[in-house]
Every structure is written in C-alpha cells, then in structure tokens.
C-alpha cells in the first residue's frame, strides 16, 4: 500500500519532468535555446503580479474541470464530456447573468446555480444511459460535447441575441470580477472564482473521503459486483457520480462566463477547458489536492506560453505538445513503474 502511494506521487512528477525535457529537446532541435524558452515561459507565468493574476485566472476553471473528471474517475467513469458541460454551464451562467435583474446576493448565486444545474443535467444523460442501459459513457459524452457546442451557438444566435456573434455582457450584479483582486495584480482578469474553485476542491475531498456517498462511489469504482453484493445501488451511484461531475464542470464554465469574459461568443471549436481538465485530473492522480496542484501547473504553462513567441521566438503550441506528452507518460505509468523498479534492482 505504501509502495502504491509512493508511485502515485512519483509517476506524475517524473511525467512532468520527462515532458519538460522533451520540450527542451524540441526547442534544441529547432535551434532555440531551451533555457531562454523556459525562462520566457516562467516570466510569462510569474514574472510580475499581472502575469501571476492571469495564471490564477487560468487555473480557476482548470481546478473545477479537473475536479469534475477526477470525481467521475473515482467512481470508475470517464467523463470526456466535461467540455460539453463547461459549455452549457457557461451559457446558463451568462443567460441568467444577462437577462435577470436582481441584487447581487441573489443574482450571482442564481447564475452559479444555473451553471451547476446545466452541467449536472448534461452529466445526467450519460449517467442515466450508463446505469440504465449499460451504454459506454465515453462515447455518449463525446457526442454530447458536440450537441452542447452547436446548440449553444444556436441559442446565442437565435434566442439570446438577434443573429449576433456574442451575448450581451452580464450585469455587474452577476459578475465575479473583483476590483480588489484586479488592483492587487495590475489589472489582470483574476476574479473571485478562485475561492469558489478552492472551496469546491475541499468539498470534493470531503465528499470522497469522509462521507458514505464517497465511500460507495469509490467502492463502485473498484468493483461493481462486490458493491452490489454489499447492498449498494450501483445504478444510483453511477448516475450521482456523473451528475456531480457535470455540476463541477458546469461551474468551471461559469468561471469563464461570470469571471473572465462576462459574456459568451459563438464558437466554431471547443473552449478546451474540459479537455485540459482530463490532463489536470490525470496528473493530479484524481485527488482533490493533486488536482489543485496540477491545475496550477497547467494554468502556469498555458499563460506562460503566451510569452514564449515574443521573448524567445518559440511558438506557444510547444506547451500543448508538452502537455500531450505528460498525459502519455502518466497514462503509460506502467512504463515508469518498470523503469523505477529496474533502477532499484540495479542499485541493490
């Protein structure tokens, strides 16, 4: 058991290390100086308070999306649909934010609630199909991503506006934007959402580790049949896990809608928050604390990367390659285990 815990920490750390090393090799092979490249990245993420604020802003939705996927993972489910749930959450938040008129202590919670419910509903469909008919959740959630994308575009065009490409800005009473945080960080777009995200991480930890529901979810994730024999309702747990997972992802969408952008734009492609959440959850070993750390790392990488083209001439997509490689190494943890064991044996 101790051995396992040790691996759980070592595998992500080594994966990140190999990923960054591969990034350095790529930079070298294209004639860049990797030290300069990574310096530019570091400066772009932490160089001053503005960049730091932007890193936190990027981290905020990543935490929630990562929690969403990690939560489903703990119950043995793979929620690739976080992306779709992010989109419907974003839309619902902006919808309430821009059409309802209410004081802030009603308006803001209402908009957040709408996002959570929208995401939860979007998670309920694959959960129900999985529990009731045994349909694989991976395919259903992928398909629902596209349904969410195209439907949201249509709603923005035809319902929320008259054929415009973006919605109205949300009312200040629904906004997460914070003058205090902005001033603190030289007018970055950092907003109050980070506290919601951190709180959600605590909630997830508490739910998984300290409640009966969490115990049942983990149990179903380990062994469906044993859980059923022990008297748990596997179906109910599957649906609940997907609903709660969708709820987190929906909130991730509201962070963009109510915090960073304040509106929603018609889009031909995905926001990628949900997909990046997969990387976050994997690297965070599906553990709430790990997710926060991983989200922060990816937030820093993504924001820092924007500084790479200007300061070091390196295309910022390099970071996407690094993130993809990190996922590969985490997924191929068997490889890393094998290497570690070999080294251990030789060392003796």
């Amino acid at each position: 058991m101790m051995e396992n815990k040790w691996f759980n920490i070592l595998v992500p750390v080594i994966s990140v290390f190999i990923g960054l090393l591969a990034g350095a090799l790529i930079m070298l092979s294209f004639g860049y100086n990797p030290i300069q490249g990574y310096m530019a990245l570091f400066k772009g993420a932490f160089g001053d308070l503005y960049f730091f604020g932007e890193t936190i802003r990027q981290t905020t939705p990543y935490i929630l999306a990562g929690l969403a996927i990690a939560f489903a993972f703990r119950a043995g489910l793979f929620n690739i649909g976080a992306e779709g749930q992010v989109i419907v959450g974003w839309l619902a938040a902006v919808w309430i934010g821009s059409t309802v008129d209410a004081p802030i202590y009603i308006h803001l919670p209402l908009a957040l609630l709408a996002a959570a419910i929208a995401g939860a509903l979007w998670g309920f469909i694959p959960g129900l199909l999985k529990a009731g008919l045994g349909v694989h959740e991976v395919i259903v959630t992928i398909m629902l991503n596209y349904v969410a994308l195209y439907s949201s575009n249509a709603i923005i065009r035809n319902v929320l506006t008259e054929n415009a490409d973006k919605t109205d800005m949300i009312a200040p009473t629904a906004s997460l934007a914070s003058e205090w945080l902005e001033n603190l960080t030289y007018f970055s777009r950092m907003h109050y959402g980070i506290f919601i995200a951190l709180f959600a991480a605590v909630v997830m930890w508490f739910m998984i580790e300290r409640t009966k529901l969490g115990f049942e979810l983990k149990s179903v994730g380990y062994n469906k049949h044993a859980s059923k024999y022990a008297g748990m309702s596997v179906k109910r747990n599957i649906i609940l896990a997907m609903v709660i997972s969708g709820l987190f992802a929906g909130l991730a969408g509201s962070m963009e809608g109510l915090g960073t952008y304040g509106n929603m734009t018609v889009s031909s492609g995905f926001s990628n928050i949900g997909f990046d959440g997969i990387a976050v959850a994997l690297l965070g070993a599906n553990n709430a604390f790990g997710v926060v750390l991983a989200a922060f790392l990816f937030g820093a990488l993504k924001v820092g990367a924007l500084n790479m083209p200007t300061q070091a001439g390196v295309p910022n997509e390099l970071v996407d390659i690094i993130i993809a490689l990190i996922i590969f190494f985490v997924a191929s943890s068997y490889l890393i285990r094998w290497i570690i064991l070999r080294f251990k044996r030789e060392g003796k």
Binding site: I125, S151, I278, I321, A331, L335
Partner: protein, 319 residues
Amino acid sequence: MSFMELLQAVIPTALFYSAPLIFTALGGVFSERSGVVNIGLEGLMVMGAFVGIVFNLTFSDVFGSWTPWISILAAMIVGAIFAIIHAVASITFYADQVVSGVAINFLALGIGIFLTKQWYDKGQTDMVSQPFYTTDIPILADIPLLGPIFFQGIYTTSYVAILFAFVAWYVLYKTPFGLRLRAVGEHPMAADTNGINVYKMRYIAVIISGAMGGLGGAVFALTIALNFSHATIVGQGFMALAAVIFGKWHPLGAMGAALFFGFAQSLSVIGGGIPLLADVPQVFLLIAPYVLTILALAGFIGRAEAPKANGVPYIKGNR
C-alpha cells in the same frame, strides 16, 4: 427546384463530405475490431490534414497535377507512423486506451500548429494550389438520369472511399488475416492460445487506423478546407468515430453511416436552398449525427454490439 435538380444538388455534396469520414471510420473499424479503442481518430485526421497540405504546398511544382494524390499517400504514411505512439502506449504499456487517444488528439494539434508556425511564420498555411478538383467520370456521366446525379462534378476520392469500404469488408470478413484480427478483439486469450500474436495483430490494426485516419484528414484538407489551421479538423474525427459505432463496427455499416452523416452535413450547408428544409433550423442538422449515435448506442435503433475485448489491454498470462 425539381426533384432531379434537388438530387443533383444533394448527392454530390453528400459524397464530397462523406469521403473523409468513410476513410477515417474504416480505420476506426480496424482498430476497434482488434480491441483497441481509438478516440485519437481526430488527431490522426489532424496529422493527415497537416501533412497533406504541407506536402502539397512544398511539392506542387514537382509533381504537377499528381500532387494531391501523392500528398494523400504521404499523409497515409505519416499517419501510420504517428499511430504507433498510440499503439505503444495502449498495447505495450497497457495505458488506458481512451486516455492515450485523448493525448493523440492533443499531440497532433500541438505538433501541427507548432510546425505550421515554425515553417510559415503564422497560424495557418497558405491555400494549396493543387487541390482535388471535381471531374465528370467518362462514359458514366452520359447515362441519362443517373449520370448527372452520381457521375458529374464529383470528386474521384469519394469513389475511392466507397471502394475502400468494400476492400475493408473483404479483408476483415473473407481473409484469414481478418479472422485473426477480429478474434483478437473478441477474445484475445483464446486467440493467443491458438497461436495468434495478439500484440502484433493489434499493432497492425492501429497502424492501419493511422494510415486511414491520415488519408481521411488529407482528403478533407485537399477537397474541403484547402489549408491547414487549428480549425481545419474540428470534430470530423469524432464524427467518424460516431460512424464506426452507428455502423456497428462493420466496414459497410460504417460507410453507410458516414454517407448518412455526410448527407446531414451537406444538408446543413445547402439546406437553405431546399424548400422543405429551409424552415428546419440548421442546428438540428448539425447535431443529428451525434444524437443519432447516442440513440443507436441506447439501442433505440437496433442493438449495436461492440467487439468484446474492445478497450481492454491484453496482458499475457493474466486472466
């Protein structure tokens, strides 16, 4: 608009949008029949589109009008090589196949855009000068009624795609190789006991899926998109995956589903000109393939049985 004119507008467009989906879906059928889930089809298409466009831009002076054909060949080769990453992770290292596929998607887009910026100094390439052009098939185009609908102003690649579907069906269902491949996907341990090398079969299947995905992406890029950017391939790979499932993991079924999805896509493009469809909001046509796949999976459109060992890493001696 008469009925004939309607068919003349719809069918060539449907064929045009279907071809990339057919190629890619056939690749998906091979991979999943051998027991390896391939969520990475999207990434393989991205890679194919990228290679197809870059090769075309680079060698258009050398190969002249043959350029697009050689470009799609190059894309096939690179796609096949690229798919080896997915094979190594998911077959040799027992990685979660879905996770590995997701990583393939990230990686392909990352590499594609990175190299595009590296080589062209901007986020997208120029338009290719040697894309595929529509042609009239000699003799067949002169058949009354059928000629104008099926054989005038179409892309040859559409017919290659349909031909490939039949070849894939023959290979999978009429050859010993196909039997082995399917056996590995249904019950790898039994196959292993009978002396079939499970790992080798799965590697071959994933590499075929890479070649076909690359081909699909390149055909999409050289008939529809004509350049490469981050928005060239958005969801076509997943639509091909939907076609695999909707077509019940059968090559001809996948082709049928891809044709249908292509038809739906073409309707969302030209639907405005068709009297009955002008009133149907475009969004319903856009989401149709995805919703239908969910319904098919839920068993509302006939039960679809996935290969039994699909998605399960095979670990020798483990039961």
